[in-house]
């Protein structure tokens, strides 16, 4: 046996406390639900979610499959990363492709080409087809005002909708997972983490992330104040000038509406320094879909989005 360090006092160590809380939440769901699933896109929050799930059940394998709602507007690096992680940990991945819904007419492409809002229908139908009763998401309360009001165990009605006025009180660390047939519970183990906590923990645990979170050269063009990259979702319109810049991504979502930030941060420590000094929130800096209205996120959540 190796030399053992004395245990740190969880209350004195913010990251240890957050980790312990998330592990507790994963185990509660494993104990109370029949068919949980982890929403996994390969982005940093869902990668962290999976990292914590692995720790929660070690040395046993994670007892849940992963679900990726694929908008078809992916960054290659993220898809490769997703598949590598699934392979490495011997996990089962279910992919719901927005393209399939568009192809058979259940969904219609939007005029602006943004597909993030189109994720809701494939998500809800896949949850219902597979009878998933608990769905883990990487949402954090510090991300957005409507998210700040969400419970860790968030009950959704039979239509997958969030009803903010009907949320259950959440007391102590006792989570109420009761639900009626057809209802589902969205579970957010990272609720109490901030963006800084996420990065500090990634550094502490040496969590592997897709390369696009770190500085790299990329051809980008400016639209609505954001640096967008060319991809299967389209490219610059006439008059939008393409430049090669050193950039990184602070969030990873649908390529058509996720912007890059100019950055030279190529290591975790440099990213932490950059995030600490930033005067913009990560969603504000990089997500066109959140800028649609004052209540864009609330409206999407009410429809069944995460």
């Amino acid at each position: 046996m190796t030399t053992l360090e004395p245990a740190t006092d969880a209350a004195q160590d913010n990251l240890a406390a957050l980790e312990s809380e998330a592990i507790h939440i994963f185990r509660e769901v494993a104990g109370e639900f029949d068919r949980p699933v982890i929403l996994f896109s390969g982005g940093k929050d869902s990668t962290l979610l999976l990292h914590l799930a692995i720790k929660a059940f070690w040395p046993a394998p994670v007892p849940f499959p992963l679900l990726h709602v694929d908008t078809g507007h992916n960054f290659d690096e993220v898809l490769e990363f997703r598949d590598r992680v699934v392979e490495r940990h011997g996990l089962r991945l279910v992919v719901a492709k927005v393209q399939d819904w568009i192809d058979d007419g259940r969904l219609e492409e939007r005029a602006d080409g943004i597909r993030n809002p189109l994720q809701t229908t494939p998500l809800l139908e896949t949850i219902s087809d597979n009878k998933y009763d608990a769905v883990f998401g990487g949402g954090r309360r510090d991300e957005e005002r409507a998210r700040a009001k969400e419970r860790i165990f968030s009950l959704r009605n039979a239509f997958g909708q969030w009803e903010p006025k009907r949320q259950r009180p959440e007391l102590w660390n006792l989570y109420n997972g009761r639900h009626r047939a057809g209802e589902q519970v969205r579970v957010f183990p990272l609720s109490n983490w901030t963006e800084a906590d996420v990065w500090n923990y990634i550094a502490r645990e040496n969590v592997d992330l897709p390369s696009i979170y770190y500085a790299h050269k990329r051809e980008v063009y400016k639209r609505d104040g954001m640096w967008l990259a060319e991809g299967p979702w389209g490219g610059p319109k006439p008059g939008e000038e393409v430049k090669e810049l050193t950039v990184r991504y602070r969030t990873v979502g649908d390529g058509s509406c996720t912007g890059a930030v100019e950055s030279t941060a190529s290591t975790v420590d440099e990213v932490i320094a950059e995030v600490s000094a930033s005067r913009l929130t990560e969603r504000g800096a990089t997500r066109a879909d959140d800028r649609l209205s004052e209540a864009a996120m609330e409206d999407r959540k009410r429809e069944g989005y995460f």
């Binding site: 969880a10 209350a11 406390a17 312990s20 040395p59 046993a60 009180p169 102590w172 660390n173 006792l174």
Partner: protein, 420 residues
């Protein structure tokens, strides 16, 4: 690593709570440029001349439309000295429900009053709920002090009345502090005010940064609700059998004598596992996996406890309930009780008293408990469960009352807790 303070705010409608929270976020530079831009734009749209900081925290459309806060919201801010998790609880209808939610995890609560109105019914009620939940530190923020001309006498009257009320609830003097503030103007929130030269105490932020937070007592009796049994059955770990959970109280070391409840099987801790390797010792709040010396039949819902300091194993529980539902509680109701990782059926044998938070007295034998009522009940459970007094071991003295029909959370329960 800076330490963490969990706090809750409470106050009634129009006391300026959202503005105070917005001010704390703003003054700790926790508000980023795009958020402030959005607030400034929305404030201009509403015809205001300065940014309305309450818009930073009122997250739902109906909240912004009505200018009120509807639901508990969680806020995160940090200074070089501490990180803060703030549960912002609204003050109007269902206020007890929201206050109980926010207070259940809080180490400190900030109560707001309007300096023009002083201590009102809801202030007393909130303080009683905070005392009942065992929140150890209180701050009374006497807000809108600018609207009473920064008058010292007005502040002193309010502060003394509140201190007397808090003392009657069992708060020692040192655990209660009153501060004259103007959330709108920022007086005494993060920066000392020049308008209150008569006030020599700390600003609100200074107090939050420095108030001593009692760590979980190390001498508490060990309590470990088993959440999940880890059995990999892989070639590498064919016979591994670990009990996963979060330590609810006390500390544990390999070799410690424990008892598995409710059946009372005795064994020893063989090993404390985590994904990062085994531990020599683990304390309250840690999520670990425990391996035992003997091969016992243990499952989710069992409690592993210190062998020499056992909880009470009983099927009759005397408890205080904060009733959080609009469906009233009547004797004879059949409910579910979630305690630790165990959910059992329960029958309400008797409602022995209802607490009157205004007079701090109790009314015997009420017919029912209604939304926001606090009452004492005797519950009969379908099987024996191991419980502690909430005042001694909150995590194993707390339970949820759940509606078996629709799964709603009906009440916060505290074993053996007397009214303050």
């Amino acid at each position: 690593m800076s330490s963490l303070l969990r706090l809750a705010t409470a106050g009634s409608v129009d006391d300026g709570k959202s503005t105070l929270v917005g001010r704390l976020l703003f003054d700790t530079k926790s508000v980023l440029a795009d958020q402030l831009d959005a607030v400034t734009r929305a404030s201009v749209d509403r015809g205001l001349s300065t940014p309305d900081l309450s818009l930073l925290v009122d997250g739902l459309r109906s909240e912004r439309e009505q200018g009120i806060t509807i639901d508990v919201a969680y806020r995160y801010f940090a200074t070089p000295k501490r990180s803060f998790v703030l549960a912002d609880t609204p003050g109007h209808v269902q206020y007890t429900r929201n206050t109980v939610t926010g207070a259940s995890t809080a180490q400190l609560a900030v109560l707001l009053v309007d300096a023009r109105k002083g201590v009102i019914e809801q202030t007393r009620r909130h303080a009683a709920v905070l005392a009942l939940l065992g929140v150890p530190n209180l701050v009374l923020a006497v807000n809108k002090i600018d609207l009473v001309g920064y008058d010292e006498a007005t502040f002193t009257v309010i502060a003394e009345e509140f201190a007397a009320h808090a003392a009657s609830l069992g708060y020692p003097r040192g655990s209660v502090l009153s501060i004259p503030v103007s959330a709108l103007r920022g007086d005494n929130v993060a920066a000392p005010s020049e308008q209150t030269p008569w006030y020599s105490g700390p600003t609100l932020l200074e107090h939050l940064e420095t108030v001593p937070v009692a760590p979980d007592p190390h001498d508490a009796a060990f309590r470990f609700p088993v959440q999940y049994v880890i059995r990999p059955r892989t070639p590498e770990y064919p016979d591994y059998r670990g009990y996963a959970g979060q330590i609810a109280a006390g500390t544990i070391r390999p070799g410690d004598e424990v008892v598995v409840l409710p059946r009372g099987l005795r064994t020893k801790i063989e090993r404390i596992d985590t994904a990062d390797g085994p531990l020599q010792e683990a304390g309250a709040g840690s999520s670990v996996t425990v391996l035992l010396a003997d091969d016992l039949d243990i499952s989710r819902g069992d409690l592993i406890a210190a062998a020499d300091r056992r909880p009470t194993v009983t099927d009759e529980i005397t408890a205080t309930l904060c009733w959080l539902s609009s469906k009233p509680l009547v004797p004879g109701s059949k409910l579910l009780v979630k305690h630790g990782a165990k959910t059992v059926q329960a029958l309400v044998q008797e409602i022995t008293a209802r607490f009157d938070e205004q007079t701090l007295s109790s009314v015997d034998g009420p017919d029912s408990l209604e939304l926001n009522d606090i009452g004492r009940v005797i519950l009969r459970t379908s099987e024996e469960i191991p419980v502690d007094d909430y005042g001694t071991s909150p995590r194993t003295g707390a339970f949820l009352v759940i509606d078996p029909k629709d799964g709603d959370t009906l009440a916060a329960g505290m074993v053996g807790k007397r009214f303050a």
